[in-house]
Symmetry: C2
Subunit: 232 residues, 2 copies
């Protein structure tokens, strides 16, 4: 995967332009193209917050063709899908997660094309898109705000790794379980239950992805209890 | 997994309340709790569009404790993470995808708790949450609009299956490849290239998850070519 841009086709609400710019920058995308947009003023600026540079740097074009011509692949977003075989223009549609997998396997530039607030992309515009994506929604209310649709699609396409806390190593993990065992023994915990209970503790801390710091703190709790035993 | 509600803590922008309601309904969630919200008027109504019922049905409470007390599990959303071991209140944080997996494995009600537009959740509020979630964002701009954060989290937690078009069966797939083989033969395609080319076609149509209708249409193209061969 590589360059991904967003194309907004005839946005009529400037707030949406600002909102889309914000979520683009949140997910590390900066290339915005606006096809025949509404007037962009204070409301777009307010909603873009710290992504006004994305709005200012947007390429403004007057036709759909001009917007998409510079991209190798065009992905049209639609809120409507049909399972009727005859509906070529919107089917088959990939979910944003499937889209991520397809894009991950290719090189070249990609445009995520989002349509008008009220009626989305026209059929002839969808027909220009090699891939159609549809966010799975409740049948009760399928129409999403375009900045929400952008948020979900760009979330899937972004590749930021969450910061990770250091988890307890195998050695530290075993040390903690052993410590629980000693404390249980010292406290007079029923010997015939110890093995099963220690296994349960392995399961609990295993599921919780125990961090190194959490392991250290648990040792502290056990040491304090042991100190209390000895004090009598 | 089961009941999931959204708790907005002291929202100050009524538009955000409407936007969050809309995306909740898009993803099939209806239970909204507002802690000490701003005045809710026309702007919330406009942005909720067809989810005004979610805003109208929202439970309004005056304290954080009242909002979260009825949930078995409370998930606090934060835009800030720390990898410092000392920061207990925000760490470790799950991504929305990890959160989905944890919730899928449990029963009981869950609150997704979203904080103030400007400063999120207070430390004492995060401390009341059993799980912390953080959407991985660009370090360049980590602060998301709360309705965008809601969109991403609820997208992960929703369980709607995209409508699926009927893909070509194994039999239909093989039939199509055979048809390509016959057409290539009839057209005088170099015989020594046929096997490799047929394999390439298998790869292309395999990757594309060829639908039944697409297979039928491709047969039609081949039949028309064959008709043209015979016509001479």
């Amino acid at each position: 995967m590589n360059r991904v841009g967003v194309v907004l086709v005839e946005p009529r609400n400037e707030g949406n332009i600002g909102s889309v710019a914000r979520v683009m920058k949140n997910f590390g995308f900066h290339e915005l193209t606006l096809v025949n947009p509404c007037r962009i003023g204070g409301s777009a600026r307010a909603l873009s917050v710290h992504a006004w540079d994305v709005v200012e740097g947007a390429r403004r074009v007057s036709t759909f063709e001009e917007a998409i011509s510079r991209y190798d692949l065009r992905v049209g977003s639609t809120g409507i899908t049909s399972t009727k075989g005859g509906e070529h223009v919107r089917t088959p549609a990939l979910t944003p997660r499937e889209l991520r997998d397809v894009l991950a396997a290719r090189r070249g530039s990609t445009a995520i094309v989002l349509g008008r607030e009220d009626r989305g992309l026209e059929k002839r515009e969808l027909a220009e898109c090699e891939i159609i994506t549809k966010i799975p929604t409740s049948s009760e209310y399928t129409s999403m705000n375009i900045s929400h649709a952008a948020a979900v699609i760009l979330y899937e396409l972004s590749d930021f790794q969450p910061p990770r806390i250091e988890t307890a190593s195998r050695f530290e993990f075993d040390l903690l379980i052993d410590h629980f065992g000693r404390m249980m023994e010292e406290s007079g915990y029923p010997p015939h239950k110890q093995d099963k209970t220690l296994l349960m503790l392995r399961r609990i801390f295993g599921r919780s992805n125990l961090t190194r710091r959490e392991a250290i703190t648990l040792h502290g709790i056990l040491r304090q209890a042991e100190w209390r035993f000895k004090k009598g």
